[in-house]
Symmetry: C2
Subunit: 203 residues, 2 copies
């Protein structure tokens, strides 16, 4: 019983996500959110709770809709392909939309106000979880003989993520896709290759 919701919940969440993406958590106001969503404040509160809860919902959607390339990458057969797919995916995501360049998560990790500290902490942990997955994937690659025994999975994962984060910053600073592709290329030049693999043969 009762009245029905008049707005499309998914459309609103997408609009909210875009605003957070563009302006960051602490840079986004309810004025921005209502303008983008075409829905008044109380509707946002009844739909999501407060600003922090809304951001977390937006973050979930960000993972589902835009960070798919991460599990995709992890499922590839070799560590080298994992790394390539991660870099390519990051470039694509960071430069695809002219209105909101860069990465929603990285932007939030660098937030500074006291109010946004809980959100920042959450993002720090989420980022660490992603890196952990990559590291574990590279450890598996060592077990499978796909990375050399001498390779350090933790350092490779940290390095790869550093390049991805750096590209997010550069994308926000206006870098072109082509420039970022040059960055990714250089990053992969020293990728370790185990003896006896196809990759080692062609080098």
């Amino acid at each position: 019983m009762g009245r029905h919701r008049e707005f499309d919940m998914e459309k609103v969440l997408d609009a909210v996500l875009c605003v957070f993406w563009q302006k960051g958590y602490e840079g986004t106001s309810y004025a921005d959110l209502t303008a983008a969503a075409g829905v008044e404040r109380p509707a946002l509160y009844s739909a999501f709770g407060n600003k922090e809860a809304m951001f977390r919902k937006a973050l979930d959607r960000y993972h589902e809709k835009y960070l798919r390339y991460l599990p995709e990458a992890l499922a590839l057969p070799t560590a080298r392909e994992v790394a390539e797919h991660l870099l390519r995916g990051a470039i694509d995501l960071n430069t695809r939309y002219p209105t909101h360049r860069g990465c929603l998560m990285i932007q939030g990790v660098l937030a500074g106000s006291d109010d946004s500290e809980p959100v920042r902490q959450f993002l720090v942990e989420a980022r660490a979880a992603g890196e952990r997955e990559v590291r574990q994937r590279f450890e598996r690659a060592k077990d499978e003989g796909d990375l050399p025994e001498t390779a350090r999975a933790d350092a490779l994962a940290a390095f790869l993520m550093a390049v991805m984060h750096g590209m997010a910053v550069q994308a926000k600073a206006g870098f072109s896709r082509e420039t970022l592709e040059g960055v990714a290329e250089q990053a992969l030049l020293a990728w370790p290759v185990a003896k006896g693999t196809k990759a080692a043969m062609t080098s």
Copy 2:
């Protein structure tokens, strides 16, 4: 004639810089600034102008006091040493102070509110200027035969800066100095070396 200033201008600027470093431009309030500087609001206004002008002064000091490693690096004899010094300097700066990790500039580049857009734009340009200097240094290295003719100075500079920016993000996320050293090491593994140089002999 008239009363003398009672506070030490340099000490206040240092305190202001630390707050901006910790909380970013848009995350810092005058309450934070007065608490850290031990000086009331009007004194800050008479000394610096408004918040934006104060941030720019803090940025100048940041360059003088903490970004010295950049011109230092550029003055080194080989491109390889330039890159090493840049990475080492970034690691040091980003992890030295537990209360304000990361990089003041990178934090500002990712600011999102409408108010901070002028500051963000300024930082984007300052960042680009730094990268330009590195690129030109690498072009000189090609002329001097220190980098191979096939090397792309722009891609190398962009790559190096990407790693530095990524390390700033990771430092803000709590990474240890040792982890970042692993990142830098991996970044340098594929550094191009011209034939006939000492570096090429030892490899």
